[in-house]
């Protein structure tokens, strides 16, 4: 209070006023930084123009005329570079989304396993964490791709799992579901089941709060979600058929195929990130004081109930912020795809498109902006979740 008052007090001269001086230097700093940034842009543009390097974004609508072997949206060699950008972006998001889920699940189990009283489980888990955490990700990716996936047999000697599932060095081939009219009802039934299970959950919780009776939530939810689609499927006369893959010529024709590059990238990223998440989870659980466990046990809660209802909810508050970092790291590390031939954003856009158009500065700037936006969105979502989980102080 007294300090603030001292700062606020105008001191004789205008030039020696600390507030004025502070503002002055900040304005100078902004001007200098702004000037440097402006000069860099103008200089680069002038030099690029002088050397005949394109500085505009006209390439965006030109025909790409190269092919990509994994496209989530329709794309052909006659599509534009802009379309190729979208294909690469979606491929990156696909890997990141699946990788984040796998890494979280695996990391969670590993973290809990490290704290297990079972000597073998705890040691195996720490062994895994130390190996994965302390070797470079790129090496792990190359290892998984070159040593694990490529030695698989060629399509003619595929390993068959039955029911139309085959594994070979072109990837995992499986039946492709074909949706006849009416298939939409099955989806609707599934959604309805999920909604019903959510309501049931709320009901069960309220019931428990009022009467203390514990309803079987897990089994009932599973039935609510799974049964309606199956019943609708049978009632409508099985509107979903499967297109079976057939070995013809070089490879299987028809069916769905998961590329080995995709598998290698998702596996590599999630196995690596899971090791870090395991440590975060372990630290989070250890951060909950032992008194909480003792209190829960003295209330008569079982070990799993203690973990689920007392420890983990409190540990989550510690876990979420560093977990966000790992999600961001995984997304950014997915750009290593370029080394194993997976067509992600960097491979397609900052690779082929850059080379065919020569617009290096624009393409790299767009690519960096995209990663920045993905990271910021992830951070915002995680921060919202964190706020929900944070301790509400009264």
């Amino acid at each position: 209070m007294s300090l603030d008052a001292a700062r606020e007090r105008p001191s004789g001269s205008f030039f020696y006023n600390p507030r004025v001086r502070g503002l002055f230097w900040q304005a100078v700093l902004i001007l200098v930084v702004g000037f440097l940034g402006y000069e860099a842009v103008v200089n680069a543009a002038t030099n690029m123009r002088a050397r005949g390097i394109p500085t505009d974004f006209a390439f965006w609508d030109r025909v790409a005329s190269f092919d990509i072997n994994l496209t989530l949206i329709s794309y052909s060699a006659t599509s534009t570079y802009g379309r190729a950008f979208m294909v690469g972006l979606l491929n990156t998001l696909l890997v990141a989304a699946i990788g984040v889920v796998l890494a979280t699940v695996l990391g969670f189990f590993l973290g809990i396993a490290r704290l297990s009283k079972n000597f073998v489980v705890a040691k195996l888990s720490s062994f895994y964490v130390e190996i994965m955490r302390n070797t470079p990700l790129l090496l792990q990716l190359l290892f998984i791709y070159n040593a694990v996936l490529k030695p698989l047999p060629n399509p003619r000697d595929s390993i068959s799992f039955g029911a139309g599932f085959y594994l070979n060095n072109r990837g995992l081939v499986m039946p492709d579901p074909q949706f006849a009219p009416g298939a939409g009802f099955i989806l609707a039934a599934g959604v309805a089941g999920i909604v019903a299970s959510v309501f049931y959950r709320i009901y069960a919780k309220r019931r428990q709060a009022q009467t203390g009776e514990i309803l079987p939530v897990g089994r009932v939810s599973a039935a609510l979600i799974l049964l309606p689609p199956v019943i609708v499927y049978l009632l409508l006369g099985q509107p979903i058929s499967f297109e079976m893959p057939i070995l013809r010529g070089f490879n299987f024709v028809g069916g769905l195929r998961v590329l080995p590059e995709f598998v290698a990238l998702v596996l590599g990223l999630s196995l690596y990130t899971a090791a870090f998440i395991a440590e975060i989870v372990r630290a989070g659980i250890l951060a909950v004081s032992h008194g909480q466990t003792e209190a829960a046990q003295s209330l008569g809660l079982s070990r799993s109930q203690t973990l689920k209802l007392v420890i983990i909810p409190q540990a989550q508050r510690v876990i979420i912020p560093p977990l966000t970092n790992q999600f961001l790291a995984l997304t950014k590390n997915s750009s290593l795809a370029v080394f194993i031939g997976y067509p992600d954003l960097v491979q397609v856009f900052a690779g082929t498109v850059l080379n065919q158009t020569g617009a290096a500065v624009q393409v790299i700037a767009i690519t960096m902006a995209v990663y920045l936006v993905i990271s910021l969105i992830t951070a915002v979502i995680m921060n919202l979740y964190n706020r929900r989980m944070a301790l509400v102080e009264r």
Binding site: R51, D67, A77, G249, P260, V338, V346, L354, G358, I364
Partner: protein, 342 residues
């Protein structure tokens, strides 16, 4: 990651370069090279016959010999070259940004690369075309039988585009598996990830040597594109453009006139006026290029003529054993032709 870093660095260099320095670099490449004491040459990361370091770390190859020729013409010393290995993806950015003085990296000469990328091709040191390599046991005789095949390819090349055109016009399906690095692409093909590997025919022969069992693979007869390969320079320095171009032509002229690495000293006494002009005995043809008058003598003395360079790196004298074909002199049924020195 390295590739991105290089591109980014190049972009930063562009931004950081002051305008006056850029203008200087644009007009006086030769002066800068003399000042640095060495030519900076962008090469392949490793393609047998074109640009590959041997077991002692010395660079060899058809493209590398052109760089040696330029260094010989400038410094009278073919070793004064700094080689920068570049992936297909990074090569043009490196040249545009001034990181290298000349790009001798089996690059295909195309219209857009000159008109849009701000580069100039000085000529063609290897007339090539794109082909396919497959395993012998597939029993395929023609590229037209490749319907449904997976094809490994190096990304960012004309190869990637030609392949797309080829399969599209023939109405065939295929899967392109693109790798940033040529070695990764070849490795993926070798391990069975792809049914075929495609690149320029010369590159196919070079890559075949690197496979585990080269004899189990065969290059299909179809050539699906024109691939005039040659060295490129930045636009805006005509003198430097001429110097590189005439280094290439000097080697072809030397072959045509029968001047070889072995006999070049004897040829100084030749009565043939064309040889006299080429070797600088008569007139001073190096001056306009910023060179001494024995510039071509130095090239042949240190590196050899085009025929020798071809034979040593990709032809009969090498492991590749590629026939001269289109790359024979015009007087021997090919299309290698150089304007006269006069």
């Amino acid at each position: 990651m390295k590739a991105i870093a290089a591109t980014f660095l190049a972009a930063m260099t562009l931004g950081a370069m002051s305008q006056s320095a850029a203008a200087q670099a644009g007009s006086k490449t030769l002066d800068l090279i003399k000042q640095k004491g060495a030519l900076t040459c962008g090469t392949n990361t490793g393609l047998a016959g074109f640009g590959l370091p041997d077991d002692k770390g010395n660079w060899t190859g058809l493209d590398v010999d052109l760089c040696k020729g330029i260094a010989a013409a400038i410094f009278n010393d073919p070793t004064k070259v700094k080689y920068i290995p570049l992936s297909a993806k990074d090569r043009f950015t490196a040249l545009q940004s001034g990181e290298i003085d000349v790009l001798a990296r089996n690059g295909t000469w195309t219209q857009s690369r000159e008109a849009e990328l701000g580069l100039l091709w000085v000529g063609v040191n290897y007339y090539d075309g794109q082909g396919f390599m497959v395993r012998k046991k597939l029993n395929i005789a023609s590229a037209l039988e490749l319907n449904g095949a997976s094809v490994c390819v190096q990304q960012g090349t004309t190869t990637e585009l030609n392949m797309s055109d080829f399969f599209r016009t023939k109405g065939m399906k295929y899967e392109a598996v693109a790798f940033a690095d040529i070695n990764e692409a070849v490795k993926a093909y070798d391990s069975g990830r792809c049914d075929a590997y495609t690149t320029d025919a010369s590159g196919l022969y070079g890559s075949r040597l690197k496979l585990v069992n080269p004899d189990e693979h065969v290059v299909l007869p179809e050539i699906i594109s024109k691939e005039p390969l040659g060295p490129a320079v930045r636009q805006g320095d005509d003198q430097w453009f001429n110097l590189v171009k005439w280094t290439h032509y000097a080697m072809i002229n030397a072959e045509e006139l029968g001047v070889t690495k072995a006999n070049v000293d004897d040829m100084l006494k030749s009565p043939n006026p064309e040889i006299k002009r080429l070797l600088g005995v008569e007139g001073d043809f190096g001056k306009g290029l910023g060179l001494s008058k024995d510039w071509a003598y130095r090239i042949v003395k240190h590196v050899g003529n085009y025929g020798e360079v071809f034979s040593r790196n990709v032809g009969e004298g090498s492991a590749l054993k590629i026939k001269r074909g289109l790359n024979s002199l015009w007087s021997a049924g090919g299309i290698q032709y150089a304007p006269p020195v006069r």
